[in-house]
Symmetry: C2
């Protein structure tokens, strides 16, 4: 595409691309935007090195002019978007990329890969932390997903309320709290369970978490308290009927005087299993597989669509695909969330046209479309923030500070949703999308 556009002169047309979803995964009530910080980090190093350029030329993937364009590539446009961690619904314009066609279209795969992956994990994580209420959720899924995706998954989980991760690389890069655990292999390595527990306590202190289900759980608990004393930090259960076992283990720990020793459960948990353990005496949840595969929704259908571009006369024109299905609304969008008098979200207002979704007085400008508009009661909160200005990345959205901001944003945005939005059962989007055309 870039080669052909460079050849016929359209590559330099000023263009606006938007990222949005046409629908949420089946039954989901809201989406969670995650990955924006990673997009910005990736953008800062998005270059074509000599090895790559030589390969593209040698294999005749693109012509010499295109290789020259790629050699000098550096994004000089601007990007706005929802703050990372924000809730989204169908047609929310979560990211808007503006620049020449060639510089902006090159980012499509990078942007979509990151946002589709990270947002899928964050949406699953948000359901899990909702189900866990005040009990900590710990991310332990690295081994169930691609080795680099695992780092991104840990980051997305923390944005959506997880309190820590077993992925040390994610901890190092993003400043996330890290946790560790002993596996069955550690117990099996030793000649007996007693010596395994003694070794772990000697090395990690009595505050450690001992895995008690390698042989017999009741014997394991007994040996755990014998090894660490009643100040033992926690025991972990990784198999069997976790709810029933937790009741037995709590009773046994209390009887042994280990009343402050916590119970951590793991083993193919998802949001439904977590909800099912609400009344069990469990202190925290370690979640693996179902978190990193998005708990039934491993990607989230975000698309990157050209919505406006200059025509031959230099005028910016809205554009949209017109055929049967997959049609889009042309034109750059701005977006705001409407809340009622009690601060509950009631609608996503997505405005097409030259004006912003929210004027200086917190109102949708006049001329709203069929789905309602400024005459509805309530406040409006503008949703888009500047992320890249003329090629320069706003650094607060990247690295550990980005994760910190995103995590806080997610908590606030989720709290604002109407009652019922956090139910796990299948349903419609938590708030309707109002498409308003001001042109």
């Amino acid at each position: 595409m870039v080669q052909a556009a460079l050849a016929d002169g359209t590559a330099h047309r000023h263009s606006v691309f938007e990222v949005f979803t046409r629908r949420l995964p089946e039954g989901r009530r809201y989406g969670v935007l995650a990955g924006t910080g990673r997009v910005l980090e990736a953008l800062e190093s998005f270059r074509f090195d000599d090895t790559t350029l030589a390969w593209l030329e040698r294999e005749q993937v693109v012509d010499a002019r295109t290789v020259a364009f790629l050699a000098d590539y550096r994004f000089t446009g601007s990007i706005t978007g929802y703050a990372e961690g924000e809730i989204y619904v169908p047609h929310s314009p979560v990211l808007t990329v503006e620049g020449t066609f060639a510089e902006a279209v090159l980012l499509e795969t990078l942007v979509l890969s990151i946002l589709n992956h990270d947002s899928a994990i964050a949406a699953a994580a948000s359901r899990m932390t909702s189900a866990a209420v005040d009990r900590p959720c710990l991310e332990m899924g690295s081994r169930r997903t691609h080795e680099h995706a695992a780092v991104a998954a840990a980051r997305a989980a923390v944005i959506a309320g997880f309190t820590g991760t077993s992925n040390l690389e994610a901890g190092r890069v993003y400043g996330l709290p890290t946790i560790g655990t002993a596996a069955h292999a550690f117990t099996l390595l030793h000649d007996d369970e007693e010596s395994a527990f003694a070794g772990q306590v000697a090395s990690q202190g009595v505050g450690t978490t001992l895995l008690v289900d390698t042989y017999d759980v009741a014997r394991g608990v007994e040996r755990a308290v014998a090894a660490a004393g009643t100040d033992l930090g926690a025991v972990r259960l990784d198999s069997g009927d976790l709810g029933g076992l937790a009741v037995d283990v709590r009773r046994q720990l209390d009887a042994l005087g280990a009343t402050r020793t916590k119970i951590v459960v793991t083993s193919d948990l998802d949001e439904h299993a977590i909800a099912g353990l609400a009344s069990a005496p469990v202190d925290s949840y370690g979640v693996g597989t179902q978190l990193v595969v998005g708990s039934g929704a491993p990607t989230c259908g975000m698309v990157y669509k050209l919505v406006a571009r200059e025509d031959a006369s230099g005028t910016l024109r809205p554009v949209a695909k017109a055929s049967a299905s997959k049609s889009s609304v042309g034109g750059r969008k701005s977006a705001a969330r409407r809340t009622d008098g009690e601060g509950r979200a009631t609608a996503e207002v997505v405005v097409t046209g030259s004006a912003d979704a929210v004027d200086a007085w917190g109102r949708v400008p006049d001329g709203h479309g069929e789905h309602g508009g400024p005459d509805v009661e309530g406040e409006l909160r503008a949703l888009q923030v500047p992320l890249v200005v003329d090629g320069s990345v706003e650094s607060r959205w990247t690295g550990p500070s980005g994760v910190h901001l995103a995590s806080a944003r997610h908590a606030r945005s989720r709290d604002e949703l109407p009652r019922g939005a956090r139910r796990l059962s299948a349903g419609e989007p938590a708030i309707p999308t109002e498409l308003v055309d001001l042109d």
Copy 2:
């Protein structure tokens, strides 16, 4: 675990870890091992750099002795496993890692991340190429998965029979055939469809593939042939009722004299949609989302279990978790595939004990267990090959040559499956697993 094992002296016990699955994803008839070559590539650079070591020390993740151990880390053990691309079933020992406990346990997350991800993609890809029969399948899913996972997904797809990928990085690194396509954005960039097609043909030649469904398909086809002539390479359909549209488009192309112009279809295809298009005049399938998310099975439940280790006296002993669920069979396994007189696979023979699964005469040694053994008719094919010998990686399994071998292995192994194994409907594993204990 490593810190505690270094402290209590068990870290250096000779240990054997095995990778296997307890079951296939629901309804799947076979698994496809993929990622072995990537494990070997990753192993060659698996080191802890100064930045990481400093972080581990500063954050007190591990103690000074463990940091020192990690600073010198280099895997010196041996790895055997199924050849990449091979079919597997429950309990197939697809990878066996042998070394000290500390050096082998450190590889768990890396090994499982790669194999769980890549094998999930390969299994989905294998179903798709089965459904497509002789029509090419093209990998186009990068934007629906993590940006690095996308490269691995393209590699896994080609191993399982895909003929090319749109992921250029995967093409560059693994020598895969690459393909490109124009998006709706390219058409929308231009003032009209005619100028978009003219630009693409001028740049890419008449052999290019024109996307004809941005506006009206029939008009798009007409304009495509007008732009490129009757030697136009292909047209692409990306929306609507693909089967019905393909019939109309084929008729129109033939009427215009473009009888050799091919029809490529894309748009949320999975193996069932591909099978449903078997009688439509389609020439190739571009597959995205459902490929890279494993078409309903995004991970494959591989585990990395300690099956044997030295005891205090220096004797190698089988070990296994004994509690309620998730129990395992202790001891190192060897494996062979049994075939009948016509070369059809009839069973996976997994032997525990000191001997190999297959002796020099292609028989299971005497002393087989309850599930049958050498008295059954047929040939045995040993399944495990050396991958790493005393820390040295067998390089033919890595890079482009590894993909080439894996792709050939997959084709042969799948051809050997019993009739019916390639049906898409849910069912039992294609061949039963015979667990034979020779001890």
